[in-house]
């Protein structure tokens, strides 16, 4: 049994749950399976065995052709280019994320493959060459026909829809990457203490905490004190 077959069988059978019942797996097969589960080091974030195997299968699969992938790279960097504050979508690994999502959510496949092909045929009609062989200005000429939904011509709707999807995936891939999160300025996911909105922000928004709120809310000094109440349900 080859490795891929192996993974599929594992997934179908339900990992750990009567794994090899009724199959012709050998002890060696079982060892391979266990190794696959144990060695899934690239993504380790509280996964069940079934999830590890499912992701491994998706990661080993390839959806985009080489040319499609190149188009995805170009489009992603048009959508999220590098600037003085951060790198581009491809710098942030967005094309790999998009490749993964094609397999993780198969309904994307038709939209993307069809959209890329539509783009090529538009380029062929207008410039007599595929998107990849077009000059940068030719590429941008066609992109400008599909990138602005409110201004696009009705016959460009296929392209508009495709580019909307491409924009969504590129943007979300970028803003959930390490680089994109830094660019966004998300400051959370750090254990600490929430002591309310910073004073300068409150002022700017014309807000304040009323005295009742200040009195009743948790104070940092109390958080590790074990709670106790009097008979009237008042915290001591």
């Amino acid at each position: 049994m080859d490795r891929r077959e192996h993974l599929k069988l594992l997934l179908a059978g339900g990992v750990g749950t009567g794994l090899f019942l009724g199959t012709s797996c050998t002890t060696e097969d079982q060892q391979i399976s266990e190794e696959i589960i144990a060695k899934n080091s690239d993504y380790s974030y509280g996964r069940t065995d079934e999830e590890v195997i499912r992701d491994r299968l998706l990661l080993e699969d390839q959806f985009f052709t080489e040319n499609e992938y190149k188009m995805v790279e170009i489009l992603a960097d048009i959508i999220i280019p590098a600037d003085e504050e951060s790198g581009s979508a491809t710098d942030a690994g967005v094309p790999d994320f998009i490749e993964f999502m094609m397999k993780d959510f198969p309904p994307f496949q038709l939209v993307m493959r069809g959209g890329l092909m539509w783009l090529n045929s538009q380029c062929n009609q207008r410039f007599n060459s595929s998107f990849l062989d077009c000059s940068e200005s030719e590429q941008m000429e066609i992109i400008d026909m599909i990138a602005w939904p409110d201004a696009a011509e009705p016959e460009m709707q296929y392209g508009v829809r495709f580019f909307n999807r491409m924009r969504d995936l590129t943007a979300t891939g970028f803003f959930t990457s390490r680089m994109g999160v830094e660019y966004l300025g998300y400051e959370g996911n750090r254990p600490g203490f929430w002591d309310g909105v910073p004073e300068n922000v409150l002022r700017k928004h014309g807000m304040e905490y009323d005295q009742k709120t200040l009195d009743e809310c948790i104070k940092e000094a109390d958080r590790y004190r074990i709670a106790d109440w009097d008979g009237d349900a008042n915290l001591i």
Binding site: R54, M101, R167, F174, T176, V201, I218
Partner: protein
């Protein structure tokens, strides 16, 4: 809860869990504090229904464990197959029912009254508050009773906006009541460190889940045997009709085993417990165990739910700071109106969301329609869609500017809404599966319509730009399908009359005295409150009763 109380009373307890072992303190299970890029799908919900980091193993559909629905009816059933089940990822909204909630029939003539009152349950709510910990404030509200609260966290910025806007239209907003430890309650559990990720299960045990706060302590202090991957098929009975134990399928070995017991306590979740009873047929119990009344599975009801969202221009391009807070809302609105003055019988509460939470899959979506809400220094709107540096900047500006409201209300329990055993389908363990029959009534539709009117009132008062269209009659006013709020209750309801109820007021089966149901199956009506706190209080109450009855020699 029952495992803990019974074990601490010195009884030997076997706990059967249909899923695997789970402990959020162990790194192998930890999804908490992970950044979005640690998931190849960036937290998308393609594998786990509530996102890739969510601590629920299971979902709306589980491979090999189907359920059916009668034609023309809807019900979605969320199951989480792991120690602690759905309490690992739930919203921690911990609301007591109020005095009226136990006697709704006396008020509006619909449904049935509970055989118990708030005074019967109050001592147990008090104990649950102190044992598990819940933050909130004593407000002296008649039907949202005071309790033993921990201090709440301060509101976030969007919550201050909501409080102000709701105040302008005379809708109260008070600190929420969540079972999250803003202060410690014992030496075994830590205090909240404000990561906003309670749905990922807490490695400091600073929020409530039944695995970390009840089963683990029970195993430490009492004689408890935990069986994982043990899918219970049926309760066995003897010739006198009394329960003798259960038969379960070991999911690893795909073999059946039995466990014998003096008392059987079901806490498998309302629908799963009903399924077990209905599958426990014997000569003494031909309709299924404890089902002489034919009521098992009936009166199934879930909370109603509807939601709306807006962009708040004041929050566009906002200052950055760590705004995570606790998992979920810091403020909420309990039901504030008199039902005799509106055209639907039961109330709803409102939950609020927004803020600069962790960017996950979906962040940056929809700029083809929402980029127009970003305005430059001269007030000119950005064009929708586009690409390039300007787009990148606009997504950054829009981040953290949305606010949303979710209404969660009480539906009226109906005999016609039920689950039953499908005569032709088994799951992969050979156990006959459930078939659901559930439709909303005008009561719920009118309530949802009212919710949407209120959402618009608050969001508009705030200066928010409403997103999406207000749903109309043709869309059931945006009501989520039954089951979607995951508050399903009522399938083995309690009552004084054995011909119209399954359990007595101690959650004990009328027809089988050593059988108890301690999940939300016992609920007669659901209230506009989340069910967990009442499940815990009633389970504790039933457990005390079991211990007493055993001492008296009655069990």
């Amino acid at each position: 809860m029952a495992a803990k109380i019974l074990a601490e009373a010195g009884l030997s307890v076997a706990v059967l869990e249909a899923g695997g072992y789970f402990d959020p303190a162990l790194d192998e299970y930890r999804t908490q504090l992970r950044m979005p890029w640690e998931s190849p799908r960036r937290g998308a919900s393609t594998v786990r229904a509530f996102g890739d980091f969510d601590a629920a193993w299971g979902g709306w559909d589980i491979e090999g464990e189907p359920y059916l629905r009668n034609e023309g009816t809807e019900f979605d059933w969320f199951r989480s197959r792991m120690l602690g089940g759905r309490t690992n990822h739930w919203g921690r909204i911990s609301l007591r029912f109020g005095p009226k909630d136990f006697k709704r029939k006396s008020i509006d003539g619909l449904g049935e009254n509970w055989p118990i009152s708030y005074d019967d349950v109050k001592p147990y709510y008090d104990r649950v508050d102190k044992l598990i910990g819940v933050f909130g404030t004593n407000e002296g509200l008649e039907d949202d009773p005071d309790g033993y609260f921990l201090p709440p966290p301060k509101p976030r910025l969007h919550e201050l906006y909501i409080k102000k806007a709701a105040g302008q239209v005379n809708i109260p907003v008070i600190p929420s009541r969540l079972s999250i430890l803003t202060r410690r309650v014992n030496d075994e559990r830590g205090a909240c460190f404000y990561c906003n990720q309670c749905n990922r299960a807490c490695n400091a045990y600073a929020d409530f889940s039944s695995g970390t706060c009840l089963v683990q302590p029970a195993m430490k202090r009492g004689q408890v045997d935990l069986y994982t991957n043990a899918m219970v098929r049926e309760v066995t009975t003897d010739s006198s009709g009394l329960a003798t134990g259960v038969i379960y399928v070991d999911k690893n070995e795909m073999k059946e085993y039995s466990v014998e017991a003096r008392v059987v306590v079901l806490g498998a979740s309302a629908c799963e417990s009903a399924r077990i009873l209905l599958n426990s047929k014997s000569r003494q119990h031909p309709n299924g165990l404890a089902n002489g009344s034919g009521v098992v599975g009936h009166y199934l009801h879930d909370s109603t739910g509807a939601d709306r969202m807006a962009i708040l221009p004041e929050l566009i391009d906002r200052e950055r700071y760590n705004e995570d807070g606790v998992g979920g809302m810091h403020v909420y609105t309990p039901w504030w109106l008199d039902n005799s003055k509106v055209d639907f019988p039961r109330g709803y509460h409102m939950e609020y969301w927004g803020g600069m939470s962790m960017p996950l899959y979906g962040t940056g979506f929809g700029m083809n329609a929402t980029r127009q809400y970003i305005k430059d220094e001269f007030g000119n709107p950005s064009p929708n869609g586009g690409y390039g540096k300007g787009l990148k900047q606009d997504i950054r500006k829009l981040y953290g500017s949305t606010v949303g409201i979710s209404g969660r209300g009480e539906s009226v329990a109906m005999y016609e809404n039920y689950c039953e055993i499908d005569p032709g389908t088994v799951d992969k363990y050979g156990i006959p599966v459930l078939r659901f029959n559930y439709t909303w009534s005008e009561y719920e539709r009118k309530q949802a319509k009212h919710m949407h009117d209120t959402f618009e009132e608050i969001l508009t008062s705030m200066g928010g730009i409403l997103m999406g269209e207000k749903p109309g009659e043709e869309d059931d006013y945006g009501l989520h399908a039954p089951g979607r709020i995951i508050h399903e209750v009522g399938t083995t309801r309690m009552g004084n009359d054995p011909s119209t109820s399954v359990l007595n007021k101690y959650s004990q089966a009328h027809e089988c005295k050593n059988l108890f149901v301690v999940d939300a199956g016992s609920f007669v009506s659901q209230a506009d409150k989340n069910p967990t706190w009442t499940i815990l209080a009633l389970s504790w109450r039933a457990s005390d009763y079991i211990v007493d009855e055993m001492k008296k020699g009655n069990l």
